[in-house]
């Protein structure tokens, strides 16, 4: 549900500030060792992609993300407290603490899941597109992935299928210039990825992620086309402000490059644009502060949240009504007690 046009830039500003505030706090939480897992990938610098595309999607649309997907989820309505709790491995998190940052999902909001396999979540949107067509649902499914996934074969298999079957699907590459320590030009022989997409039968556009309005415009066009059975590809260029994961200090980048990259800040850019229009500093500061408070509360929620109960280990391996796997200890007790261990 896009906001009325004149409020849109403010809404996008708010979304981007919320993402940034979320990521900053989740990074601190990591340092405090309150997050679950050794891997935490922050999307700071990539807010333009998340907000621009997320805002152009509709209720009912679905998506998958890569491992750097907090921002996208927030832009699609993810609740920061339940997200933060999930990232902390807590029971009140979106996935009851079993998924964490890299496997967060929410069927209610159409989040078909983050993925720790580069490219792993891409073909699911082809399947979702098949569903929507067969079930006559007016919805688009969007795969978000990084530039690294441009080298995974399954992307091209999926692109071809979506185009062949004219499915309501959009492929979005968030090109932050690096896959871990590898710059795109050392991973990809030809960086004109829109040509790749076209050669597989897709509509294709590039957008500059520093300009959220440009991203939003491209997303609107491609989502509309996808809804009509012309699936597409959108490459959004941006810069990964910090390391690959929270521990990585990016020794493979020069300070100059990083400085230049961080200057391509979609939040600062939109703020400047808004101030050049009729926005006032105070109004924007209010947005920033509110985002900060919201995310502080999310942190508190996550830290205070309960851990999963031990027995939950065996839940949800199979569907409801299906027997749970037999714990190894129980097996051994049964065997040595002379019974049959199912």
């Amino acid at each position: 549900m896009p906001a009325p046009t004149d409020r849109l830039p403010f809404e996008l500003y708010r979304t981007m500030c919320r993402i940034r505030a979320f990521e900053e706090r989740v990074g601190e939480l990591f340092v405090r060792q309150e997050t679950a897992g050794s891997m935490l990938h922050l999307s700071i610098g990539e807010e333009g992609a998340a907000a621009g595309i997320g805002s152009a999607m509709r209720a009912g649309d679905s998506f998958t993300t890569h491992h750097r997907g907090h921002g996208i989820f927030l832009a699609r309505g993810g609740q920061p407290d339940r997200m933060m709790a999930e990232i902390a491995g807590k029971r009140t998190g979106y996935c009851r603490g079993k998924g964490g940052s890299m496997h967060i999902a929410d069927m209610g909001l159409g989040h078909l899941g983050a993925n720790a396999i580069v490219g792993g979540g891409i073909p699911a949107v082809v399947g979702a597109g098949l569903s929507y067509r067969r079930l006559k649902k007016d919805a688009v499914s969007v795969a978000f992935f990084g530039d690294g996934a441009m080298q995974q074969g399954i992307l091209y298999e999926s692109m071809n299928m979506a185009a062949l079957w004219r499915l309501p699907v959009l492929f979005v590459c968030i090109n932050n210039q690096y896959g871990m320590g590898t710059r795109i030009d050392r991973a990809s022989a030809n960086l004109a990825w829109d040509l790749r997409a076209r050669s597989f039968g897709l509509e294709a556009e590039n957008a500059d992620g520093v300009d959220v309005m440009e991203v939003r415009g491209a997303a609107e066009r491609l989502l509309a086309a996808a809804r009509e059975g012309r699936p597409g590809f959108l490459a959004v260029s941006c810069y990964r402000f910090y390391g690959h994961a929270r521990m990585d200090k990016s020794p493979y980048r020069t300070p100059e490059e990083e400085e230049e990259g961080r200057a391509r800040d979609p939040i600062a850019r939109l703020r400047a644009d808004l101030l050049a229009g009729d926005a006032r500093e105070a109004e924007l500061d209010t947005i920033v502060e509110a985002a900060g408070r919201e995310m502080d509360a999310a942190v508190d929620f996550a830290v205070a949240a309960p851990r999963p109960e031990p027995g939950e280990l065996f839940e949800d391996v199979y569907g409801p009504d299906q027997p749970a796997p037999l714990p190894v200890r129980r097996r051994i007790e049964t065997i040595l007690g002379g019974g049959v261990a199912r």
Binding site: G99, G120, L130, S131, R133, S141, I154
Partner: protein, 327 residues
Amino acid sequence: MTGMSETTYRDALRQALDDAMGADSTIVVLGEEVGRYGGAYGVTKGLIERHGADRVIDAPISEAAIVGAAVGAAMTGLRPVAELMYVDFLGLAMDQLANQAAKIRYMFGGQVGVPMVLRTQGGTGRSAGAQHSQSLEAWSVHTPGLRVAMPATVSDAYHLLRHALTLPDPVVFIEHKALYTRKGGLDPAAPDAPWGRAVVRRPGRNVTLVAYSRMVHSALEAAAALAEAGIEAEVIDLRTLNPLDMETVAASVTRTGRAVVVSEACLTGGVAAEIAARIQEDCFDWLEEPVIRVAGEDVPIPVSPGLEAASIPGAPLIADAVRMMLP
């Protein structure tokens, strides 16, 4: 259709798909050559005419994306039947099967399931070579979250597939290429046993032969040969490998005191190891002899027909193993 009639394994599978698609409009069939061609082994022949190209979908040669698309479809309201033409192609799609389909319900805290069936076929018998003759069920059996069915009979071809198409979780459904033309009785109203239960195909008191898929027939053949020498072998057909019905197996082995596990898959690390390990766990005090595995040789499957046949167990080896076991 009710009452018992004679049909083939292939036709029973087709009828299961046809009946299920009639009963559940969310079922779609997706795979290479499943539509116009009717399936490499003819299982899906005619389905596209009956249910339309919207539900019987010919896919490009993209195994990973076929399975991945099925995962996405299953998460969003359809019940897809994805077909891998040969189980040997699992290596192309294993990430989507094991890291996605199998784990999604768990990783996402039970929010959603992946009710899909991956239909495929395996085994030797057509000199199709090392990349088209394998028995790879072990990979799926070792993946929590997947169900695995391997029908040996015409009736099970129908009923296990029908049941698989009602389950909330991904099912790897592995047919056997050498069974498609096999004939047998089918009553669509009467399954041999509930899903997840093994069936005693032949009763006996001297030894228990535990088998699944085509090896059930080899075991029955061996049992018939042994009977001539007065040895009564009980033959159990596991039907599903997940669930694995050890109660039925243990009930037999605690009577016979001897167990031979028969599998076409190469011996080392195969499902026969799991079954053997469980039998000795469950029936230790009753066992007169070690649990013996009669399985495929630990070699790739050669093309040359004589070598191919020698690479997997036949009734003579099964019978000999039993003879060696008996006092």
